[in-house]
């Protein structure tokens, strides 16, 4: 029961964050990346387990690409279907800068409550 509550909360949180993280990963990368590679980078940054299911990044990549935040090209692959390599656009970079600010603001706001919860309760009682 607790486990499913946790997962539900994590899923709701991820809604907008996946796009932000994907843009950030592609902005930092010096080369074009394809879906599987991005998934593995995210996982390795978090000790091998990704916070979101890697299957969920593909539709988001496609949505970002449809919004002109990413461009893509197709390269044949030996292991499976041709891979789509993504690169961030100028528009994507400016959107990323905006989203970063929003995220920083949201994070600070949430931290104000969750980090100092104990001491606040102490003061009010």
């Amino acid at each position: 029961m607790d486990d499913s509550n946790e997962r539900k909360f994590q899923k709701e949180l991820n809604g907008g964050l996946v796009g932000l993280v994907l843009l950030a990963v592609l902005a930092e990368s010096t080369e074009d990346l394809y879906g599987y590679e991005i998934a593995k980078r995210l996982a390795s940054a978090n000790d091998g387990t990704s916070i979101f299911k890697e299957g969920t990044i593909y539709p988001v990549l496609r949505a970002l690409s449809a919004g002109n935040l990413l461009t893509s090209r197709i390269v044949p692959s030996y292991s499976g279907p041709p891979r789509r390599y993504y690169r961030i656009t100028e528009q994507g970079r400016s959107v990323l800068a905006e989203w970063k600010q929003i995220w920083a603001g949201t994070r600070d706001f949430v931290d104000r409550f969750t980090e100092t919860e104990q001491s606040d309760i102490g003061h009010s009682s």
């Binding site: 599987y36 299911k53 299957g55 969920t56 539709p59 496609r62 692959s77 279907p81 891979r83």
Partner: protein
């Protein structure tokens, strides 16, 4: 949903396709393509493990088929809502009738009707040449590779046609081709393609695009030239009366009957209004044709949910055993 965890890529894709049942067929094709790219890359990245060992862990990394299906449905809905420009629907009948001029889809569909003649000729030539050469060469050894090459070209062209139709009519079409599975030799692949219903519907679509393209082109050219001529008529008459150039109403309708309508100039405003109505009807017609054509193209070019990559008998047997 209670079901056995997939043990092979084929099983995973089959479950994902079932989970996406009822979703747009183009969305399903994209989702299957993405999943296959990931799963095959994951299997290739672990050469020491068997396919079923890799698949065992897939639910915790890529996600179980039902989770992935939900992600695709949700993202599609959000993106569609974000990309659609909110448009005020006019309430009056006249507003709805003339509102078509504000709909960009009507213009792009009209453009598509012009373009359909050119693309129709190209598709027709491609299909006729490819088919006849495939049949003719089938007695020689190069017949099979030629047929495979012809089918590969058809797949690419049908994807491009899908992108064109999505751009022109706004109907969701696949953004990824259908992946035919790892190479299994000429004969196996040729047999699969011959059995695949979509192979034949794609070729039928290409052949049908020539007559369809001709009809669209004629409708668009005739409709536009007649309606624009009629609309231009009153303007021309007014300008000639004002002495901009030497023409009178009687010169437009020298011998037209009945005389009382044309020679008194009574018909001129009526014809102008008729031209405007005709042009508006043409825009409606173009938009309607665009929608119908998108449905037609989707039924012919996009794999049905029931088909898709051909399952091997081995994986089907494994699924029954579970």
């Amino acid at each position: 949903m209670n079901r056995s965890a997939p043990r092979s890529i084929d099983q995973y894709l089959r479950q994902l396709r079932e989970e996406l049942g009822g979703a747009d067929s183009a969305l399903i094709q994209d989702a299957l393509y993405d999943a296959e790219e990931y799963l095959r890359a994951e299997v290739a990245a672990h050469p020491d493990k068997s396919e079923s060992d890799v698949l065992e862990l897939i639910a915790s990394t890529y996600g179980a088929p039902d989770e992935v299906a939900t992600a695709y449905r949700d993202t599609e809905v959000k993106v569609k809502a974000a990309m659609a420009t909110p448009r005020k629907e006019p309430h009056t009948a006249a507003g709805r009738f003339f509102g078509v001029f504000l709909d960009p889809r009507a213009y792009t569909s009209l453009f598509f009707m012009f373009l359909a003649l050119a693309t129709g000729i190209i598709y027709f030539v491609l299909a006729v040449t490819g088919l006849s050469l495939s049949v003719g060469l089938s007695v020689l050894i190069i017949g099979v590779p030629f047929f495979l090459m012809f089918m590969a070209v058809c797949r690419v062209v049908s994807l491009a046609e899908g992108r064109l139709i999505e751009a022109m009519t706004g109907a969701r079409m696949p953004r990824r081709p259908v992946y035919q599975g790892a190479a299994r030799g000429f004969w196996a692949r040729t047999g699969e393609m011959l059995k695949d219903r979509r192979t034949w519907t794609t070729i039928a679509y290409f052949l049908s695009m020539l007559p369809i393209g001709i009809v669209y082109f004629v409708l668009a050219v005739a409709g536009l030239s007649i309606s624009l001529t009629l609309i231009a008529l009153p303007i021309t008459v007014v300008l000639s009366q004002a002495g901009w150039f030497g023409m009178s109403a009687s010169e437009f309708f020298g011998t037209a009957q009945p005389e009382w309508i044309f020679n008194t100039g009574f018909a001129i405003p009526i014809l102008g209004v008729a031209g405007l109505l005709l042009l508006t009807s043409l825009m409606h017609l173009a938009r309607g044709i665009g929608r119908l054509h998108a449905m037609y193209a989707k039924s012919m070019l996009v794999a049905r949910v029931a088909s898709g990559p051909v399952e091997t008998e081995e994986s089907a047997a494994a699924l029954v055993a579970h």
